[in-house]
Symmetry: C2
Subunit: 96 residues, 2 copies
């Protein structure tokens, strides 16, 4: 299993647009065969700082996701909505 944490810092004034667009990508992603978990969190006391905690069966699942229309649409919109590029941390479960 591969875990990814995606950090998203949303520009002031774009919060509602972000939440609307990210909800679409969440719904579609959770239907993907290779997705295990895909959950969005906001930092407590530091609004507009979001993280997506993602879990994937394998690299192929990530590749399929990255090429999907719903992710590509979100990624294109993110350029306008995010204050800085989306950053990822990749992990291998130490518990496996």
């Amino acid at each position: 299993m591969i875990s990814i944490t995606a950090y998203m810092n949303v520009k002031p004034g774009y919060r509602e647009e972000f939440l609307e667009k990210v909800q679409q990508v969440i719904e579609h992603t959770r239907e993907e065969e290779g997705n295990v978990s895909y959950r969005l969190y906001e930092e407590t006391g530091n609004s507009n700082q979001f993280v997506m905690l993602e879990q994937w069966k394998d690299q192929h699942a990530i590749d399929v996701h990255n090429q999907s229309d719903h992710f590509q649409n979100f990624f294109a919109a993110a350029k306008k909505i995010l204050a800085e590029p989306l950053t990822l941390k990749r992990f291998i479960n130490d518990d496996d």
Copy 2:
């Protein structure tokens, strides 16, 4: 570097007490020599579901933290505040 995600599901009615107690453990933990990052997030659209994203220099830093008064105090209070035991996922950075 070792990353830990701690999942905390707070009982309804204990949110304020949780936020007050967790703030104390955050402030003290960030002063610990072996801590790299310690950030609290709440799930969007699913309140009271929190995660702490933690990063530590090494296992020794985690051991020191786990034996600290501030963590022990929080852990004792968590038994009353959390709807289920705190669960941890340990990771090794795939990017290192």
